[in-house]
């Protein structure tokens, strides 16, 4: 189970250095949360929304600013499913895999989308266009099966709608 948070070794990603501009941006983000108690998650969210992922080289800087160890910050980044250590595709398509969606055929939809995009759950297409991810409940359980495309919600997914989604993200 590649999604489990145990034994998932994201340190394998080569830490790349940040450019000067990126360093400045990072400092500005951290400074924004100076007065916030327990700022780690808000900072990591802000970094991911600015950079598209949490650059491995950012973790030590965050650690230093927050007076925490690198290992601690690394531990936080790897614990939460949302935080990425690599950039995602240009579009992120999340398909709900939880029970209410299962009861309305989410598994069939998932197989269809996987086949249509040529990837399996958790992967990004070779052209970098789409990342396909599982999600466990979007609170759309009464209009199941549900999905989210770049933050936009989609419900009552059937074959036709799944096809339209594929066409939208990977034309």
């Amino acid at each position: 189970m590649s999604q489990s948070r145990h034994g998932d070794d994201r340190t394998a990603v080569e830490p790349k250095d940040l450019s000067g501009a990126q360093r400045d941006e990072l400092s500005a983000i951290i400074a924004r949360f100076e007065t916030v108690e327990g700022a780690t998650l808000p900072i990591l969210h802000a970094i991911q929304s600015a950079f598209g992922f949490i650059p491995p080289a950012a973790a030590p800087i965050v650690a230093e600013k927050l007076n925490r160890s690198r290992a601690e910050i690394h531990g936080v980044v790897t614990f939460y499913h949302d935080f990425r250590s690599q950039p995602a595709g240009r579009h992120v398509l999340k398909l709900c895999r939880a029970e209410a969606c299962q009861s309305m055929g989410a598994e069939r939809v998932a197989r269809l989308v996987e086949a249509g995009l040529g990837v399996t759950m958790g992967e990004t297409t070779a052209d970098g266009r789409v990342t396909l991810e599982p999600v466990y409940c979007l609170g759309l359980c009464a209009v199941a099966p549900a999905a989210m495309v770049d933050g936009r919600v989609v419900g009552r997914l059937d074959e036709a709608k799944a096809g339209a989604l594929i066409a939208e993200v990977a034309p």
């Binding site: 327990g38 780690t40 969210h45 499913h81 939880a98 609170g139 359980c141 919600v153 419900g155 009552r156």
Partner: protein, 537 residues
């Protein structure tokens, strides 16, 4: 005169095209020269009818649904037709307005049986008002609870909550008044109120719907909690999977701050309370209260051992009230109408109303707020209308991914904490997920174990390792290998998880697994309890 038209901005409505419908109405009204004010309300919770479009008439609000953008030109034409305007719906007598013959016409919204049969204490305004209008909120009874609380001593507020019999709606059903009393009595230079809005259970969406449809009620409830226990700062911990709810909540907080509802002088009382919205990062276990507190503190979402209780030593080491969205949102009603009004409905020790969420393969999916005690069968068959596919119901999972699967044979179970526990189940946060006869229950048991493995915080071995072993054992059963021995092994494993886990993720995963194994033995390739296969009869 301009006509007020309501198109929900709720995610469940957006997911089925509400934005396109709203845009079409605006464009079409302009084209047909009909003066329209469009309000983006929350959802009424009748999701099978979404997008549900409502129109204000002298007789009350009338509904149309589910509306597609292609239905809009005809709908607007019918609404614009001046012939017997103002007469309202036909059954009210007088000449029938032209829109009453529209194929999507549903009559007066309040008269739709699914809505009419409910008892709406907490969701009274949801879907009715503009969620971000403080004027609407006040006009519909908002802030009455807070006004009452401001006139009371902290002990008296806590007493009212205790007398109401309110139990936590997050799942465990712990009496809210007792929790508050502990925090009130606890020593601390500062205290916190934390809203658990990490609604991760599949089949549940009540917190989301309320935050999107009536966010001010949560703010009011939190302020009252702050007054009750002596806290002046609060957090709402929501989930990243709910971007729309978070957006509405953030806007509502800004509105409340500007109006002086939050801040250093609540409604001129000299008391202070502020609220910060925090967003999780995709971790189911962060719904567990101590993991949630760790997460706000910026740590891995690992469960803390109890004691100390969060009420004594919670967020940043300070006494903390942590409650579910619906628990806190129940409080304004209790303060405004009195604890007796709340306690007057319910069943046994479960007082007040529960926001039951009908989800999955169900014809009438949605939110049904009702007094405790209604049977599971009434909810699924009468109110829910059976499956969406029209096939027979085979199983329903109640209470999220840690809840048991019940067969229709148990449909006489009343919706109540104790009654479900007596049948090895739980009501949790009130979600009911319906499955038709195509479901394979061994696969559902497998998923329960898989989900536990994915979401385990890793602290205890039975949960972390046991769940992965569980997946393997179910896989062997599905493959038909040593089925009896592996079923026994699965039951053993569940015992170990149940008694060796620190929190309910590892401790309750056995509920869905064992209920599937007990009630649906054939799906595991086992003989049914009477020892004979049905086919052999």
């Amino acid at each position: 005169m301009t006509m007020r038209i309501f198109v929900p901005g709720d995610s469940g409505a957006l997911a089925v095209g509400a934005d396109a419908v709203a845009a079409a109405i605006t464009a079409e009204a302009a084209r047909q020269e009909l003066a329209v004010t469009l309000v983006r309300n929350g959802s009424r919770g009748l999701y099978w009818l979404e997008p549900l479009v409502e129109v204000e008439t002298p007789a009350g609000r009338i509904a149309f649904g589910p509306v597609a953008p292609s239905d809009v030109p005809e709908l607007v034409a019918a609404l614009a037709d001046p012939s017997p305007r103002g007469e309202g719906p036909p059954r009210g007598g007088g000449g029938a307005a032209p829109f009453t013959t529209h194929p999507l016409y549903l009559g007066l919204t309040e008269e739709i049986p699914f809505l009419k049969r409910q008892t709406r204490f907490t969701f009274a305004r949801c879907g009715v008002v503009d969620p971000l209008s403080l004027d609407d909120y006040k006009a519909a009874g908002g802030l009455k609870g807070l006004a009452a609380a401001l006139a009371l001593a902290p002990e008296a507020i806590v007493d009212q909550v205790t007398q109401s019999g309110l139990r936590g709606r997050g799942g465990a059903g712990f009496p809210t008044g007792i929790k508050w009393k502990t925090v009130l009595a606890a020593e601390g230079s500062r205290k916190f109120v934390v809203t658990n809005a990490d609604e991760g259970d599949s089949g549940t969406f009540a917190d989301r719907m309320l935050m999107e449809g009536d966010p001010l009620i949560l703010i009011e409830g939190m302020i009252i909690a702050g007054l009750a226990v002596g806290a002046s700062h609060g957090y709402i911990y929501s989930r990243s999977e709910y971007p729309h709810a978070n957006d509405v909540m953030a806007k509502a907080l800004a509105i409340a701050e500007r109006a002086g509802l939050l801040g250093t002088d609540i409604l001129g009382s000299g008391r202070s309370f502020s609220i910060e919205l925090r967003i999780g990062a995709g971790a189911y276990v962060c719904g567990e209260e101590t993991a949630l507190l760790e997460s706000i503190e910026g740590k891995r979402g690992q469960v803390r051992a109890k004691p100390p209780l969060p009420a004594i030593k919670g967020l940043f080491g300070a006494p903390t009230v942590i409650n579910n969205v619906l628990s806190l949102a129940s409080v304004p009603f209790i303060l405004a109408e009195g604890p007796a009004a709340f306690a007057a409905v319910g069943f046994g020790r479960s007082r007040g109303t529960m926001a039951v969420q009908l989800a999955g393969n169900i014809r009438h999916g949605g939110l049904f707020e009702t007094g405790f005690g209604i049977t599971l069968g009434a909810l699924v068959d009468d109110i829910g209308g059976g499956t969406a596919t029209g096939r027979p119901v085979k199983a329903v999972q109640v209470g999220g991914p840690l809840g048991a699967y019940f067969p229709p044979a148990l449909f006489d179970t009343p919706f109540d904490y104790e009654a479900f526990a007596a049948r090895d189940g739980l009501i949790g946060h009130g979600g009911i997920v319906v499955f038709d006869d195509t479901v394979e229950m061994a696969r559902q048991a497998r998923f329960a174990m898989e989900f536990c493995a994915i979401e385990s915080c890793g602290k205890c071995t039975p949960c972390r390792i046991g769940s992965t072993r569980g997946v393997e054992v179910v896989d062997r059963i599905i493959a038909g290998r040593d089925v009896d021995a592996n079923a026994a092994l699965l039951a053993d494993l569940c015992e170990t998880m149940k008694f060796g886990s620190l929190c309910a993720l590892g401790g309750f995963t056995p509920y869905p697994v064992m209920s599937a194994l007990t009630h649906f033995r054939e799906d595991f390739g086992l003989l049914p309890p009477n020892g004979r296969m049905e086919a052999a009869e």
